[in-house]
Amino acid sequence: MAEAEDIEESLFEAPPLAEQERMVEAILFATAEPVTVAELNARMPHGADAGQALELLRKRYEGRGVHVVRVGDAWAMRTAPDLGFLMRKETVETRKLSRAAIETLAIIAYHQPVTRAEIEEIRGVSVSRGTVDQLLELEWIKFGRRRMTPGRPVTYVVTQDFLDHFGLESARDLPGLKELRAAGLLENRPPPGEALADDADEDGDQTDMFEDED
């Protein structure tokens, strides 16, 4: 009986950690898109702990020409940014974004989830359909949950592709985010006089930021 159990156990035993690390390495290496820990675990043998193997792998690649980077809840291998100069040949000329598109993208990233009306309030001009479409097409933004305010407007949030493109681990790592929040500059302050009417609307806005999206 004890023997049978032993056999069964060894049959389902996870491979050694070093081997798991090799597996994670191979999978991340082969895939251009970031891979989540859940996907890694699903592809690896039963009992493997991709998270732990990933941590080892990440350390191994520290300081190398290729890095293991975190992108949201996924992982990917990317060349070290300081070697970009070697790669000029590989550079893909991306469509230049308009100033409006860049600002809109930044507002979505820093204020997410954010409605079109809020973007317009911050920029002081209306947001053209084309600007949002362009960002959606690049898959840098996507629709978030609808805001629970009258009209239930859609919100926009940034995507994993956005994080991947700008080498961000998460939206929390946006440059200067903490300072902006501390300075109250990520608030959606209603104009004086409209305070009461708007308050009910926008309430909970900035405290919820990122929380319900992650």
């Binding site: 082969a30 895939t31 291998m77 990233a109 820093y110 080498g167 946006l174 440059p175 500059l185």
Partner: protein
Amino acid sequence: MPDGDADFDTVEARLAAEALIVDVDGFEGPLDLLLTLSRTQKVDLRKISVLALAEQYLAFIERAKSLRIELAADYLVMAAWLAFLKSRLLLPPDPTDEGPSGEELAAHLAFQLERLEAMREAAAKLMARDQKGRDFFVRGIPEDVARVRKVRYTATLLDLMQGYARIRTKDEFRPYAMDRHHVMTLEQALERMRGLIGYAGEWTDLSSYLPEGWETDPARRRSATASHFAASLELAKRGAIQIRQTETFAPIQIRAVPVG
């Protein structure tokens, strides 16, 4: 604007003012223009004089008008609002007046400008980051991941019940023969023959037992013949009828077993 000339007494200021006017189309609305104007105050945005800014903006609008530059409506709306704000800021507060004070309105405008400025800086910082495909790169030769597709079929209890309900309701108002095009089951033939056989004291061709509408169409005829033949074998086995066939391929005849 009488003191407009005083504002533009240096060549530099004049050039700057003209640049603004020439570029009026380049501004993304009044807030953008206000932000640009506020930079001429050369102070931290938090210490900006909104009153001075309002005056700058109004002067700008006046000059644009005098140069017959078409201004979009929102520029004029902002001008009207800033004129109102200016009067609020200059006049002593009227205690009977409800609504926000001039200071509150000014503070909000300053906040809006500061927030827009902050977002512009954030956008610049974002674009200055290392970018994929420019500073860092993905695997050049992604390996094909073979996709093994597995199909799992599901159905819910509701599907099941609805399916059953659908069938049973269909039965309720449709004569079932309508649904059966070319198939006659053994059970069906057996049922029929049980009813008919009592009347068959004489040898009768099996083919004459085929129900109406099943004798001509070949598919229907084949099915009916087969089921009736099988049914007659069953009835013969039970001892209810007798079967005979005079020679190969001759008509098959049946009759009820004579009583007694």
